[in-house]
């Protein structure tokens, strides 16, 4: 492994401009993590047009910061208000809030911040060693392998979500269908353009992401607008005691490993790893009865796990070009907008971007650790800003951003339409995640499928016969069998956690 590129990545990460955007990213991330409503995927989507003007490394450093910063922020409201800002911090609320009620909110938040820091940092370190090997292996992939890989990605993201398998599959199919709007990627024939030039170039990814995640979530939240304002308990100093630390340290270690491994799997990610980590901690604990009543391990484990997973979920995106979750799909789009194709070639073609972004995460995690403790009070006060004020401001930024992509008002209308689609999907129980992911992978999947078909002379069995793609097909089949089992286990675990 060539460490000189890793080291020069540090030089990139420490450029003043990149440090600034890292700081902006993690602060915004933490803020939206605290605020219920907009998630990291929506926030990143809304900010995409603004990153057009930035240099690629700075843009991705900022957007990545929003993603992992949100994991820190979500914890604060989980512990203080039992109101998780993010799905990945739901389980933290169980013991975190119990601690807060005992007057130990400060130490709980302190441990959570330290656990998050250790989990995130350990994960970056592991990424540094594993990513090059994975990218190296993927360099030999041809169209057949990419076809199967993209299918695995779409399938796992669809099935590991919380909703119905059929609805996830339908959402993914719709995403693939919308991706075919525009010119045929190989022949240039216009498809589904309804005779208008506006659709000839296809639908811009930014419009899809901003419409479905941004406008869709804003519209959806309009219907739930009258939530009572919660009272914030006092939390004292965010410094853990010796006992807290002794009880937490092994949980942090286990959580980091769990998070790293599950984060690499497409669809796994932060939420699942925090649930698994909680279950593990409860099982290994000497007195499992303390859990749910304020066991610090129940905060430390999941918090290190969700941050480790958030970091390691960059691996499939940066090495294979396959986004592991909805936020990564938006980041995939962000890289493409900058003229950078995420995939095995990224590390060798743009080592400055790759290592600059990866190493900026050390800085980001350090900033988050430093910021989270003194700024908790400030972030909690932000909760007092009413959604009725935040929503219209977000909407205007989104609309102006959509216009600025092509200086075209048609794009705004398209985005509103997609926003309504996103709202309707939520109401009817479809998740927008698989849709956006399938949209992003759609043209890659179609082009590699058709290239393989030409290569194989129309013989579908070639996918199984080639060693690498055959192995990937086996993985795909295995996941079709294993994932439903995993879902049942997880459903039971969640039930048990809820009952206790």
């Amino acid at each position: 492994m060539d460490f000189s590129t890793v080291l020069s990545g540090f030089a990139v990460a420490f450029e003043p401009q990149n440090l600034l955007f890292c700081l902006i990213g993690v602060t915004v991330g933490m803020l939206i993590g605290v605020l219920p409503g907009l998630g990291p995927a929506a926030t990143i989507a809304i900010l995409l047009p603004i990153t057009y003007t930035l240099e690629p490394t700075a843009a991705v450093i900022m957007l990545a910061g929003i993603f992992y910063g949100a994991q820190y922020g979500g914890t604060i409201t989980s512990v203080l208000l039992r109101m998780p800002g993010e799905a990945s911090t739901v389980v933290t609320a169980l013991d975190g809030h119990a601690l807060a009620r005992k007057g130990e909110a400060g130490p709980a938040l302190g441990v959570a911040a330290i656990a998050s820091f250790i989990g995130g940092t350990a994960s970056i370190l592991l990424l540094t060693f594993i990513a090059p090997a994975l990218a190296g292996a993927a360099l030999a992939f041809g169209p057949a392998e990419y076809t199967v890989l993209a299918l695995i990605g779409i399938f796992l993201v669809g099935t590991l979500g919380s909703g119905s398998l059929w609805k996830s599959a339908a959402a993914a199919a719709l995403g693939l269908l919308i991706a075919t709007v525009g010119l045929d990627p190989l022949l240039g024939t216009p498809r589904f353009t309804f005779g208008t030039d506006q659709l000839a170039d296809g639908i811009d990814f930014t419009i899809v992401a901003m419409g479905l995640f941004g406008v869709g979530e804003i519209l959806y939240n309009l219907e739930h607008r009258d939530r009572p304002q919660p009272a914030v308990p006092s939390f004292g100093r965010a410094v853990p005691s010796r006992l807290h630390w002794l009880r937490s340290r092994m949980a942090i270690l286990r959580g980091s490993v769990t998070g790293f491994v599950l984060g690499i799997l497409p669809g796994g990610g932060a939420t699942m790893s925090s649930l698994v980590s909680y279950a593990v901690e409860k099982r290994v604990a000497k007195e499992p009865s303390r859990f749910g009543k304020g066991a610090i391990e129940g905060v430390a484990g999941p918090e290190s796990a969700n941050n480790a997973a958030a970091t390691s979920s960059f691996i499939p995106l940066l090495t294979l070009g396959i986004p592991a979750n909805a936020t990564m799909a938006v980041l995939f789009g962000a890289l493409m907008l900058q003229g950078i194709t995420p995939g095995p070639g990224l590390m060798s073609e743009h080592p400055d971007v790759f290592w600059g972004v990866v190493n900026s995460m050390y800085v980001g995690n350090l900033l988050l650790l430093a910021l989270s403790i003194p700024l908790i009070g400030v972030f909690v006060r932000m909760l007092k800003v009413r959604p009725g004020i935040l929503a219209p401001l977000t909407v205007v930024i989104t609309m102006l951003g959509a216009y600025s992509i092509r200086n075209n008002a048609f794009d705004m209308l398209l985005m509103i339409g997609l926003g309504l689609l996103g709202y309707g999907m939520c109401k009817l129980g479809f998740e927008p995640g698989p849709f956006v992911l399938a949209f992003v992978l759609g043209s890659l999947l179609e082009a590699s499928f058709r290239r393989s078909m030409r290569l194989f002379g129309g013989d579908l069995t070639e996918f199984v016969q080639r060693p690498v793609s055959g192995t990937l097909v086996a993985v795909l089949v295995l996941t079709v069998v294993v994932v439903p089992v995993l879902r049942t286990v997880r459903a039971r675990q969640t039930e048990r956690t809820a009952v206790d």
Partner: protein, 171 residues
């Protein structure tokens, strides 16, 4: 600012789980969409597996969409315990749905006015209407936030980022 504490009665209007009819609609829509797309795909050249034409892939995807829709309808109609099947989970439409449609309509008007009269007035009006009527802020808060946010948007997009938004105020 008194508006902030007042409207709590809306809590009764939180969306509930949707019924069987809505679950069937959730499957019928993908079927209709998939069928329409398949019909359009037939109009393009399908080609063969050896040499796929532009219509083949969209047709495969449209067929997949129809198949998923059929499965959702079957689950909705046949599930013994309706609530137990995750595919049946929907959320009922409430009075708030009207607000959502109004908001989308306001945005569409905004988008169409934008290139005609510049971005300042539509932005100001959109913000004000949203704050006052959808957010139920006071007249004063709505006006103050709308004016300052429009000014900030002007500074950020036009002066800061150099985005060529159509505008009537020039410096």
């Amino acid at each position: 600012m008194s508006d902030a504490e007042a409207p709590q009665e809306e809590g009764a209007d939180e969306p509930r789980a949707g019924g069987r009819a809505q679950a069937v609609v959730a499957g019928a829509l993908p079927i209709a969409l998939g069928a329409f797309a398949a019909w359009l795909a037939f109009g393009l050249k399908l080609g063969s597996l050896t040499d796929p034409g532009p219509g083949l892939w969209p047709l495969v995807v449209a067929a997949l969409l129809v198949a998923c829709g059929v499965a959702i309808v079957v689950v909705a109609l046949s599930a013994k315990v309706f609530e137990a099947a995750p595919a049946n989970r929907t959320e009922s439409f409430t009075r708030g749905t009207g607000a959502v449609l109004a908001a989308a309509a306001a945005l569409a008007v905004y988008a169409s006015l934008f290139e005609v009269v510049g971005f300042e007035l539509p932005t100001l009006l959109l913000l004000f209407a949203w704050l006052r009527f959808l957010g139920r802020e006071s007249w004063l808060t709505s006006a103050a936030v709308a004016v300052s946010a429009t000014a900030v948007a002007y500074a950020l997009f036009i002066l800061g980022l150099g985005v060529p938004l159509p505008h009537i105020i020039a410096f």
